[in-house]
Symmetry: C2
Subunit: 103 residues, 2 copies
């Protein structure tokens, strides 16, 4: 699958947007948890949460063109990006990205 | 080294006090960090911090009587407990605990 320079730019912007929102959500979740610490072990629960999230984010955000369709489909499904963020990609790419939603 | 029932009680209270303060300090540090998140990677820096602290706390808080002198000496050095928390222990124990401070 070939990506034109313009498509690469659009894909990169969508990818970066999703990543940024993802990280903001984690920051907010961490702040909420830290604000509501009660038991001593709550910090280790937060540690477990961050270990899980870090693994998840590392695995999810992979910008190789060979997996980009899948990555964009996943962040679209998770509403980190919306259809408008894909405008300008070829119809077949958008169709494939949307197919990921059905998996 | 023998610990009388009374000494065990005193040692346990000192140990629990140190642990409690230690965990409170970590909770406060986490809250401060979470309140001041700026860059995206700050959450992973917090994760690294917690990984380090968890290892440190796991290693530090060991309530076997065979290592208790050393543990109490360490938390005394780190001002998590004070001399008064050791009152009631035999003189030789207090002397040994204080020697840990010089290591």
């Amino acid at each position: 699958m070939k990506w034109s320079a313009r498509e690469k730019k659009i894909a990169r912007a969508a990818y970066d947007k999703a990543y940024k929102i993802e990280m903001q959500r984690i920051q907010e979740a961490v702040y909420e948890k830290a604000k509501n610490f009660k038991e001593e072990n709550d910090v280790w629960r937060l540690h477990d949460y961050l270990t899980r999230k870090r693994r998840e984010v590392d695995e999810k955000y992979d910008y190789r063109y060979s997996v980009l369709i899948f990555v964009l489909g996943r962040v679209l499904r998770e509403r980190l990006i919306s259809d408008e963020d894909l405008e300008g990609l070829s119809q077949d790419k958008v169709a494939m990205i949307r197919r990921v939603l059905e998996i």
